[in-house]
């Protein structure tokens, strides 16, 4: 798999590079494990939320009396029942000093700002009783006009938060001329208008829903000296900090546990109203409480992703050499500025120039408040949007020049001998080889044969046309150098923490601040430690996700765990060896200078004398015979702050068949050749690439969160929000080239988001390529058959999606708890 990766001579015995089966999978897949909803505490009470069915309304009254007298209801609480003890949901990344942001109260008492916002909470002895009583809470609303359309909202036609006076939250600008990293983009575009090529496009990044498998769940236990919060979160450490910062509880009194977490994709990189409400209720009542959302609640109120309009201008010389790129974004924040919120499009700011040598670049992003579900990170977070825009534009440029899309890219990309390369966005790409990845992908794909077939189908007027889509993506991973985050006004650093504990029996306990939610950290990190310390893979236990166990950390997102957390782990393990060396020398009565460590064994140079690291650990535990002044511990830790991002890249090629009679699409072939640096576990990498690809393909073809004119989410169940299954995808061809990252010892770059970032433009490019000869230059995502057919058969590329769902379940809109159930049955004996 890693054809060009050099392996040490003893590679057969090494764990790194082995396709270990994931040690955590049996319990995760069977569910016989510590999912938050599986946690049951003595005397635990259950919560149900009452949510607004309106996108924007004044709350004029809440009558909780019927709910309070329902069976086994302990309390019904509204925002008015809490004061500041409720705290606020924080925005950790104010992208400009003058950012306009509404206060995000977890349970407002005066006004709701999106459909699904919580207005009351019911506490009962069982989840069913809480749910039943929630139906009895009577909320009176005065509906207000809602800001729903992003462009209209940006024009302040209707104000999402009237007290703010505007929907415009922040304007973030990067200009290469001002930053000194490149020229002036207006000059480049002006010149191209007279004697070059100018490509101007507007692309839509539709709203997506992360749709993790495990719904969000939170348990709060206020009965000990520390308050404990269990939460299905990606960010237990940040959550603890935020609870302390906003609810007045000392950080030392808070323990947060993210037990096994079933997927996130960025959707659990959040501090949520549900967590804050459970926290406040638990403290108020003094008993453990649990809240687990329904799937409908999850789709409606857990944060959404993407949702941008992208206005793009690319200038080039007549031969296709790019000269400038101007990006103007509108980004929908939804009703509140989420924890990373406006920072998501800003992360993309550095990636629009991608692998190409643009001499001039300008980026401006206006973030906009609306009365929809708040948006935040979703797999890729900013980088898929950027990659989509530039890779679509490069295909358009190729079409304009009349060149092959691969040739136009090669003309403009950074050649492998030019690394390290400082880009027009100011980043230094440390390594990469776009030529090698492209050559390999091209061969795997059978590029020339498929082009011939495409020509033949065009010539014969075949109703089924073939298109080939290219995506030569890169991304920035390993978030992030703390200094850079500081310059971007991010509210935290980007380091990661790890510790290694040598147990008395020679076994190893590792703690990491990077808390997995399905990625396989337990397996990959065990492989790293097994190699570094020369112990058995099975003898390493990875502990994470509990602030009392792994007390420091910055958690898991942005493909950072391996590139940052893995490196911290290496450094902690190396310190163990450092501490063990003088003890080994002492026990073997040799000079420290004569001690060698290899394969888990300390040996005395030139002799056959040696001790395993486990034996040293036992000796240190006994502490009967240690050198003077040496402490009885091998335990070590390390905090690693990356010096740079890492830059995975790859060449993805997609062949799509388009049925011109219906607009139906069929994927014919998909090749991904990714350069993600060194590979720890090829099986886990394949899983990440496959899953990532499907998620990116799903944006291209299937997924879209659609609201109706009233601000109700109509794609509010998996009937209408189309998640693909294995039946909808093909077998992908994946392989790798390897240019190790140069800024840390593991040489890894990160792979969690690569497939998602790369695949979306590859697919849409393929669809457009199949019908370009019929006059089509763009099809809005998701490329539904209807949109494809209309693009072929008429002007326009298919506008916004119809705001209506298929009515398979016989009832009208029941967006909230206010609807009375059971009124719409038709036939008495409906079977």
């Amino acid at each position: 798999m890693t054809a060009t990766q050099e392996r040490p001579a003893d590679a057969v015995d090494r764990e790194i590079g082995r396709d270990r089966r994931r040690k955590e999978d049996q319990r995760l897949i069977t569910g016989r494990t510590r999912w938050t909803d599986n946690i049951v505490l003595p005397g635990m009470l259950h919560l149900a939320m009452v949510r607004s069915p309106f996108a924007h309304a004044t709350i004029t009254g809440i009558d909780t009396s019927a709910a309070r007298s329902a069976p086994n209801v302990v309390a019904v609480l509204t925002g008015a029942d809490f004061g500041e003890e409720l705290g606020v949901c924080i925005n950790a990344w104010p992208i400009t000093p003058d950012q306009v942001a509404p206060v995000h109260c977890p349970m407002p008492s005066d006004r709701v700002s999106f459909a699904g916002e919580i207005v009351a909470v019911v506490v009962a002895r069982s989840a069913a009783e809480a749910r039943d009583a929630a139906e009895l809470v009577d909320v009176e609303y005065d509906e207000l006009p809602a800001a729903l359309d992003l462009k209209a909202a940006a024009a302040d036609e209707v104000i999402a938060h009237p007290d703010l006076g505007t929907n415009k939250s922040a304007l973030w600008v990067f200009d290469s001329g001002e930053a000194g990293t490149g020229g002036n983009v207006e000059d480049a575009i002006g010149k191209a208008r007279t004697d070059g090529i100018v490509i101007e496009r507007e692309y839509r990044q539709q709203r997506l829903i992360p749709a993790f498998m495990e719904p969000r769940s939170v348990v709060v236990d206020p009965t000990g000296e520390q308050y404990v919060m269990y939460s299905a979160t990606q960010i237990p450490h940040i959550l603890r900090f935020a609870l302390a910062a906003t609810t007045g509880v000392s950080e030392s009194k808070i323990r947060v546990i993210a037990p096994d977490v079933g997927g996130g994709f960025g959707g659990k990189l959040q501090v949520t109203p549900e967590e804050w409400i459970a926290w406040a209720v638990g403290r108020r009542i003094g008993k453990p409480v649990k809240y687990t959302e329904t799937r409908s609640e999850s789709l409606m109120s857990a944060h959404h992703g993407r949702d941008q309009w992208q206005k793009l201008t690319l200038s080039a010389e007549k031969d296709g050499t790019v000269t400038g790129l101007k990006v103007e974004l509108l980004a929908d924040l939804g009703a509140y500025v989420a924890i990373v919120g406006g920072g998501v499009p800003v992360l993309g700011a550095f990636m629009f120039n991608a692998i190409y040598k643009f001499p001039a670049y300008h980026f401006a992003c206006q973030t906009v408040l609306t009365n929809k579900t708040w948006t935040d990170a979703y797999r890729g977070a900013g980088r898929p949007e950027a990659t989509y825009a530039i890779e679509r534009l490069m295909d358009e440029l190729a079409a304009e020049v009349g060149a092959d899309p691969l040739a136009i890219r090669e003309k403009n990309w950074i050649r492998h001998e030019e690394f390290p390369f400082t880009t027009v966005a100011g980043l230094e790409y440390d390594s990469g080889n776009y030529e090698a990845a492209t050559a390999k992908a091209r061969e795997m794909f059978g590029y020339d044969e498929l082009r011939s077939e495409q020509m033949a189908r065009r010539a014969s007027g075949d109703p089924v046309q073939l298109g080939i889509g290219v995506s030569t993506f890169t991304e920035m991973c390993g978030l992030a150098p703390s200094r850079v985050l500081g310059q971007l006004d991010y509210g935290a650093g980007g380091w990661e923490y790890a510790s290694v504990r040598m147990l008395a029996t020679g076994k190893v306990e590792v703690t990491t601040g990077a808390s997995a939610h399905g990625q396989g950290h337990e397996t990959a990190f065990s492989q790293i430690v097994a190699d570094r310390l020369g112990v058995a893979f099975e003898d390493v236990e990875i502990l994470h996700g509990d602030t009392a166990v792994a007390h420091k950390g910055l958690d898991t997102y942005g493909s950072r765990s391996l590139a940052v957390g893995g490196e911290a782990l290496v450094r902690a393990a190396d310190k163990v060896v450092e501490k063990a060396t003088p003890i080994a020398a002492h026990l073997m009565e040799a000079s420290v200078d004569d001690i060698e460590f290899a394969g888990g064994r300390f040996s005395v140079r030139g002799t056959d004398q040696g001790m395993a690291i486990g034996e040293i650990a036992t000796a240190v535990f006994a502490a009967h015979n240690l050198p003077d002044g040496v402490e009885a511990s091998l335990d070590s830790d390390a905090t690693y702050d990356p010096v740079n991002f890492s830059f995975p890249h790859g060449t993805h090629l997609c062949a799509m068949e388009v049925d011109t009679e219906t607009g139906a699409l069929r994927m014919r072939k998909y090749v991904a050749c990714d350069d993600i640096g060194n590979i720890i576990n090829p099986l886990i990498v394949s899983g990440q690439v496959h899953g990532g690809l499907v998620q990116g393909i799903a944006q291209a073809l299937w997924e879209e969160a659609v609201y109706d004119e009233g601000g109700t989410l109509v794609s509010g169940s998996f009937v209408d929000y189309l998640l693909p299954t294995a039946a909808d995808t093909i077998s992908f061809d994946i392989d790798h080239t390897t240019s190790p990252a140069t800024t840390h010892s593991l040489g890894v770059k990160g792979v969690g988001e690569a497939g998602t970032i790369a695949s979306t433009p590859a697919v849409v490019n393929a669809v457009v390529d199949a019908v370009r000869h019929l006059g089509v230059t763009d099809i809005q995502m998701p490329c539904t058959p209807e949109r494809v057919w209309k693009a072929i058969n008429g002007p326009g590329a298919g506008g916004s999606t119809e705001g209506a769902a298929m009515p398979h379940f016989e009832a009208g809109g029941a967006a909230g708890n206010q609807e009375q159930p059971g009124t719409s049955s038709t036939e008495g004996a409906g079977q």
Partner: protein
């Protein structure tokens, strides 16, 4: 997803089920395989006081030969219907449609009669059953009556089954030796069809002697494309001839507009899908 509280009975005879229905009236809901009712209950779109489960009435299960027809018990699971030799021999169109119905889990839990009584116009069984001219055996306190497929489907989620009645079986006239195809147009495999066409044809000497065409999700009930049927009769089973006949597929339809396509697009799809379904039925 927690349904509101309800009582539950599971009678072992149709008579007992009818008695329970008579006793509780509007407060009762009948559950067959539960593949539509359970989501409705869990999303609290409906809250019956009592659910009457037909799952323990053995007489409602199975497929039997009845001379010029086969009779499919209402509680026969889709997976059993699809694999049944009588169905495959005499009503191949139904077997072809069942292959595409939802997913394997649903096909094992969901029932033939339950799906038809639910009367979702996007359901996969209405079109083939209408095309085959099936009739519905409905039992009430006063005895049993039979309703034709043309009269059974009244409107969206509405059938000829009375409030105090139960669908017990579906009687399908034998179409032995007819070619059949169910062409379903979806974006993802587990989706309800955007449009689907059920076509079954009797081919004699290379020509289509008779054709029966049902349309899924082209109106508030499953529809029969009678204009296409008439145009096909006596035509050769060729691409051009079938294309001309299939051009009538959208006549007198009123398809919905939703996230997956507007009504005009569905009308266009119906003509293309009908052509493909008929050609496949004639060729297979």
């Amino acid at each position: 997803m927690i349904p509101a509280q309800f009582d539950y009975v599971a009678p072992t005879s149709v008579e007992d089920a009818l008695a329970a229905l008579a006793e509780h009236g509007d407060d009762a809901k009948i559950i067959a395989g539960g593949q539509s009712l359970l989501p409705v209950l869990r999303m609290r779109l409906n809250a019956p006081e009592i659910v009457i489960d037909l799952g323990r009435i053995d007489s409602l299960r199975g497929v039997r030969d009845d001379g010029d027809a086969i009779v499919i018990g209402a509680m026969t699971p889709h997976s059993v219907v699809g694999a049944d030799p009588l169905v495959n021999e005499h009503a191949l169109l139904i077997a072809r449609a069942v292959e595409h119905l939802a997913d394997a889990q649903v096909r094992h839990r969901g029932t033939f009669g339950g799906a038809l009584a639910h009367a979702d116009p996007a359901g996969d069984l209405g079109a083939p059953v209408r095309a085959l001219g099936a009739s519905f055996v409905i039992q009430g306190a006063g005895g049993t009556r039979t309703v034709s497929a043309d009269d059974f489907f009244v409107d969206l989620f509405e059938t000829a089954i009375g409030d105090d009645e139960i669908l017990t079986a579906v009687r399908v006239p034998k179409h032995t030796g007819w070619g059949a195809h169910y062409e379903k147009f979806v974006r993802v495999a587990h989706q309800w069809p955007i449009v689907a066409v059920a076509a079954t044809v009797r081919v004699e000497g290379g020509a289509i002697a008779e054709a029966r065409i049902g349309l899924t999700n082209m109106g508030s009930t499953p529809l029969r494309a009678t204009a296409v049927e008439a145009a096909l009769a006596g035509q050769p089973a060729t691409e051009d001839a079938v294309r001309a006949a299939a051009a009538h597929a959208a006549e007198r339809t009123s398809p919905p507009s939703d996230l997956n396509g507007d009504a005009d697009y569905r009308r266009h799809l119906a003509t293309v899908i009908t052509r493909r379904a008929v050609l496949a039925a004639a060729g297979g």
